[in-house]
Symmetry: C2
Subunit: 229 residues, 2 copies
DNA sequence: CCAAAAGTGTTCTCCATACACCCATGC
DNA sequence: GCATGGGTGTATGGAGAACACTTTTGG
């Protein structure tokens, strides 16, 4: 069946807001653009969608190409398509946000990118295109979603302490949480596996390690339980 | 600045899941396709995005062209871009969902559409493309969002009774709500204007009419209140 | 023994839920 | 006067929020 639509078409790209955790600080991965437009400016990693790949795959591929990273969680965010958002011509971008376990990865600049680096959300440079708008909406989405879906674990090592877990939520939600209430709640959900091991190499009492259990989470959801921080 | 990217491009469309209320029943607006592919099948209203219009505008325009309707609320839902979802070739669709006050509008088939009609969510025909998937995710989004944002009012006449309001939520959430608790809660939010008028033309005690007040809602939000059903 | 973080319970308030009867109106 | 939906209050249980001290470990 031939495609009968031969009008001009917009270009379609994907862009990716990648979040990572640095102790108690939420960071975003940016690349420095090598080419015009906005050469030298910082931007979200991303690029054009190939004709035979899904949008998700395009997002993962571009991220890999430009920063060397694979993400642990990826979710479509929003599609931005204002005429004029790209000075080269009509470009529609499907934005994603991703979470990665920073400790386990090493970043490196790629083909279209001079350099890649992590920025704290409080010290962002001026960004190319409408990427500041995309970044802001990704941050809001993350803040909303992390409270009722167990996605935040993708920012932590597979084994973590309750304090690390709490700090992760505090970093994302940007407000302090009460230690006793937090522990009571998260433990009562029954989605954590308490490991026999403890923290090592700290100059104080070692904390117990925990891991997130997908199996326990599936059980709990099955029985109508709601995850909520 | 010339556009240096001259690879083949996917086609970009918008599709719209339009919800309307029919007494206690949530309905969706579908059109019957005039042309191939899927000629004669029911589908979501939608079509190609023009080069100089925003995505939102494209959604409203297509809706108007194919059904004669203007929507009271429109929100971007998700972008579907599987290669192969359109047999004519790679097509990426930005899906929207819309809410309209059915009582105030009259539908009519348009250019690309043989016919437009409302379907109950429980009696859906087989749909063209991946439109059943889009419809399902729109329904889920609506169920989620209606609980913490006052968007449901866009399905009701500007003046409504508390019973109509409750039935709207019951239709969307697909479960019964307790009358006294519902009234207590919605009134305590302080976002409704109680009008002096009452219902007319009913064969029983006439109910008080209310309207949603944007101003009151803005106040309440400003003071940190959370709308939640 | 000191510094640093781990770990632990109780009280109070508020909100969600469950639940049944009288009232006003049109026919 | 009867059928139909409109309108109202209270009691109970559970969850969220506030809050401070003891324990363990390494240096």
């Amino acid at each position: 069946m031939p495609f009968t639509y031969d009008y001009p078409r917009p270009a379609v790209t994907v862009d990716c807001v990648v979040f990572g955790l640095d102790d108690g600080d939420l960071k975003v991965l940016l690349i420095q653009r090598a080419d015009k437009p906005f050469a030298g400016r910082w931007a979200l990693p991303g690029g054009f969608v190939n004709m035979d790949e899904t949008l998700d795959v395009a997002a993962r591929r571009e991220l890999k190409e430009e920063t060397g990273l694979s993400c642990d969680y990826l979710e479509q965010l929003f599609t931005f398509g204002e005429p004029g958002r790209d000075p080269r011509g009509r470009t529609i971008t499907v934005a994603y946000y991703a979470l990665i376990r920073r400790a386990e990865h090493r970043i490196q600049g790629g083909s279209d990118a001079k350099e890649a680096a992590w920025f704290s959300l409080h010290e962002l440079p001026s960004l190319a295109f409408d990427h500041d708008k995309i970044l802001e909406s990704a941050h809001k989405r993350l803040q909303g979603k992390v409270r009722y879906q167990p996605i935040g674990f993708n920012l932590l090592p597979l084994k973590f302490t309750l304090t690390e877990l709490q700090k992760m939520y505090e970093a994302i939600l940007d407000r302090p949480l009460d230690k006793r209430n937090f522990r009571k709640k998260i433990l009562s959900m029954g989605v954590l596996e308490r490991l026999t091991e403890s923290q090592e190499g700290v100059a104080h009492r070692a904390a117990r390690l925990y891991s997130f259990s997908k199996a326990k989470y599936a059980d709990v959801v099955e029985h109508g339980f709601n995850f909520e921080i």
